[in-house]
């Protein structure tokens, strides 16, 4: 059977992780082209990853001979690219967040559904192997009923400029990182759990003053039907490298898991060395040295799953609907951060981007 052909849209940080993951861990897929706005960027990426074709025009990339469009570009382009891909008859896997508005989300879902194309929302925390192990333990009844979850994702801010421009990103740390925790809480509770309310607090002006009006931190408390809560803490102002960890409290026990420091080697280097972990800063002195970062975050498992869904015509475990549910929670969070009140769900504001609900 032939390999599934993937057009990779984007050539930045996350596209690089996808390319490595396909190459090393998804033998049934083949990246047939890459697309980046700047020619030299596209070319360099193609050369680095041994990809035969490269484009600077998204529509051309979509129109190329591919089965799947894998979207790794700024948030404001998510909806139009997904819809274009669906119209062109391609399956879509899209990086978080799904898009900027619930209206866009509905259109994206409809565009894929009506053409019978898969739309996978690429939430890698639903695949990160350590966290999946945690979910299995919970499923086995190891800790009774979950009543409290905490998920932290924190670092010192994204690599690319567009994240800091709220018109391109739609929001800051919450849109960039909070989406992970919110999706993961739903995944842990299983069976499309109904979120009842969201409370949020946000901060800005911490270490990126002048560069952004976006939220540099966000704290969300999501309450689910049945009473379990999820607390998502996110930050673009946390120095010392990436933090991604969870705590799951149940009536019969508790689980702690840490994807970065909790997997790493511990190094003391007088002179420093090349790379410790995502956004680690200096490598002199003590550092927590990561390995197999993509694997430990679940990217290979995620992409392998999607390629299998395409080949076997099955439904991904995280879909556009899940991405939409997360977007709704983020809208509610920005609203709550402004009002100081819990926002009850469903919540369908009319805004052009989530962060407007906080800043207005």
């Amino acid at each position: 059977m032939n390999r599934t052909r993937v057009a990779l849209i984007g050539a930045g940080f996350i596209a690089d992780i996808h390319a490595e993951s396909y190459h090393r861990f998804v033998p049934d897929a083949e990246i047939v082209c890459v697309c980046a706005r700047r020619e030299e960027h596209a070319q360099a990426f193609a050369r680095k990853h041994g990809i035969q074709r490269w484009f600077t025009d998204i529509d051309q990339a979509i129109a190329s001979e591919c089965d799947v469009v894998d979207i790794c570009i700024p948030n404001y382009l998510h909806a139009r690219t997904t819809i274009a891909a669906a119209i062109a008859g391609k399956h879509v896997i899209i990086e978080k967040p799904l898009c900027l508005t619930l209206e866009e989300a509905d259109e994206m879902i409809a565009a894929c559904e009506s053409r019978n194309r898969k739309l996978m929302y690429a939430e890698e925390l639903c695949f990160a192997p350590k966290y999946e192990r945690v979910r299995q333990l919970v499923g086995e009844g190891a800790i009774g009923s979950i009543y409290h979850m905490r998920q932290c994702e924190k670092h010192s801010g994204p690599h690319s400029d567009w994240f800091y421009d709220l018109n391109l990103s739609g929001g800051g740390a919450l849109m960039d990182m909070g989406c992970h925790g919110l999706a993961w809480f739903r995944w842990m509770l299983g069976g499309k759990p109904r979120a009842v309310s969201v409370y949020a607090h946000m901060q800005t002006g911490l270490i990126h003053k002048g560069r952004t009006r976006c939220d540099e931190t966000s704290l969300c408390v999501v309450e689910f039907e049945g009473g379990a809560i999820g607390v998502a803490e996110n930050s673009w102002a946390k120095l010392g490298g990436m933090e991604d960890r969870v705590e799951v409290y149940g009536t019969g026990g508790v689980i702690y898991a840490d994807l970065f420091q909790g997997n790493s080697a511990l190094t003391y280097s007088e002179k420093g060395y090349g790379y410790a972990m995502e956004k680690a800063g200096s490598t002199q002195g003590w550092t927590f040295t990561m390995f197999e970062e993509a694997f430990n975050q679940g990217y290979p498992h995620e992409l392998k799953h999607f390629i299998a869904c395409v080949r076997d015509d099955t439904q991904p475990i995280v879909t556009g609907e899940d991405g939409r549910a997360v977007l709704e929670l983020m809208n509610a969070a920005y609203q709550s951060a402004r009002t100081g009140q819990k926002v009850t769900l469903p919540f369908h504001p009319k805004v052009s981007k989530p962060i407007d609900l906080w800043l207005s």
Copy 2:
């Protein structure tokens, strides 16, 4: 110079820790009597700790030849005992929480002030040596300006029955444990920082169903003038032993500190053994074995400080006013937990106990 004479009111879990701490670490103090409601209890405690006199009547104990009254009894007795001690001319150190109402707090403070008696609010986290080291680091500028603190204190529920009776305790996990985090946030920020608002979420019916109507968990988000926030997570439903840890995020770094697991030895015992740590449950298999628990929590430092204040006639670093401020925050938290809204401070409700604001 003679030793300062302490009347210890109470003979339970916390009184035991105080007695051990005085005995081993506060040579300038001497426990001259202990008071417990039940005679055999008082007698056994006195014998165990080599205390010469014991009482079953609080007023008699207060009236005994002592300089200091150290109050380690249920919350609902705090105000009356403090006031009686002040009237009797004794200095008072009182276990958390200060009392049940702001009115009581004001009376307690006034009673001591007018008679020129010390009133120390015994918040041991302001003395726990690891946390004090954290505070010094912050004071040195090691992590820039604090913008986020988290403090967790969690276990599987108190030893004594009265905690679970909201008429005696005035509230659950928040009153019992949340007070620590709230006091500690203020201490970390220094200089009597002004709290602007409190948001809280609480849960009950988790593992103590039928035994209590109190909050078994509480999550408080306190916002301070200047924008820093403190997140206090507390639980009576966390199995596996005591958890007490902090995270302090600043614009120039971050500090993590863990008082129990983070200090312990790691043991695997096929057969089990006597005692691992506070509320640890079974000691078979893997356990985190604590040592010098009282010291690591700061009790000796706290009591030594108070005795020095009494002897040198100086002001304790944590006073009745601080206890009152914490009580105000807890009132606001219970109110918020009911309304789903941030409560702005100052907040002066008229209630007979804090938890009424949540349950009503």
Copy 3:
């Protein structure tokens, strides 16, 4: 290009890990048959892993249409099976230890070399991703020159009975686990480093009294040319689950890495659950929960490497010569454990199995 066909000899614990690793991570390979002494065992294994053919006779399995023979059977069968495979024109990958005597080792190497067949010594620690990260750091100069390494591999004893029978295994904890550390020290120092001497101490009669005369623990100190030493600690008497960790000290720093506890989630379960990690024992109370154990130990990387060597006609990074060098070190260790003296290398005793040097 067709997939490389693998005959899997053995259907025990380690064969299971190989089968999972090929299946999930080595798309260029296909297990075409499995061989186990007992028919029902072979059949069950084949069914579980979707393998088309099964045998109970090793020679038949070798003679089947396969390119590679992957040997996962007791130590005393290693030499004859390897040689038979080579004669049949098959490439060989063989689990540790290489064999029981240096004479066997020489014959195995010659048998493969003369027929131009690959012989890979399957030392997974040379592939374990965290340890490989450590090796890269050292290569980058992060910690200066290595002067001391420590590698521990400890658990409560193997699953299968044959390990405990010194005639089948040739030795105990050293033969079973010590081989890992000894191979890894050589790999870390690179370039076929010359070992100068070995000192060893061993213990028996600890927790497997009556079941074995083998060494239940071994401690080896290997000295390399240039002065660096490696300390390998191994045990069949360590309760609480698998331990595999390293320490690497250099003149410019130090690295600590732990493959099991150091990657795991931390779980407290009142009721217990199915599986925590290799040989973990009870799962009630606190446990260190592992995930992706095969991956974290490097099995997929190891097997993928060998299949690539076969397909590209390149030399494996760990060969029969390396296995022989480790065997020589183990011989020297058993000798040293008896005499209480450092044994200098080269060391070519005439024995029918390494442990004889200790017990005689």
Copy 4:
């Protein structure tokens, strides 16, 4: 009852720790004088610690009105100072190692014994509270019978020059740090256990090339009657701060304890700060921040114990005999490091200092 008067001989790093420990934790003792060779040093120390008198002549300090002589000076002065103190009728507590030769040891012991003076060998690891907790667990039977202990003490080299001069110190990392592990193994096994043999390996020329001919690392394997072994690893070449940790393996379990990193707060500081832990080096980036270092290492408990022994006329738990036994083990270790053979005990070489046995 009056306080016990202590003459503190020495004003260096360790004397500072003793002074702090007495002051904060041993109310029954009072440092009445300090002695240092250089006047300004003695004076500054006295001022810093509020000590009334200071001397530059040891004999004058000994002759002063004191009950106890606490010896914190270079190794080569240990014997003569102890004997002088005993002759002057003073009780002696002496820092490790006891002295340079077994003959000196015998004289010191005799000098104190004949005058009925206490001679305590100040091995703080017998008092370090975490390690004492470990010993209690073993005493309770938590891990069955001990068969293997490991103790590591490592840092980047001592503060003072005299350590590096083998004529003043008598040896390097082994004499400075190895003595701790060797004493602790004996303490853990209890009841004056008989050591059967010692094997050792040492290294030099690592990071203090040109500064010293002493052993920069030592690895000792001590075998005790009954078969348990102790492995002491010591280093002056380990960067990144002090390491002091133990592993205790028993037939029924295992215990791991770490005095420094395992108690510390974890800090990331962009700018750095004043002090992290003993010999930590830079405080920029990640550091392990210690607190109450003297307490956690057991100095207060040790000194309090000795003062109590003096006051109550009881025998210290670690005496000159224990210090002598450790010295014998160190002699055997140096001998073994030269010969590459286990040295059996008793071992009574005639040398002027232990390291001669290695270097000759």
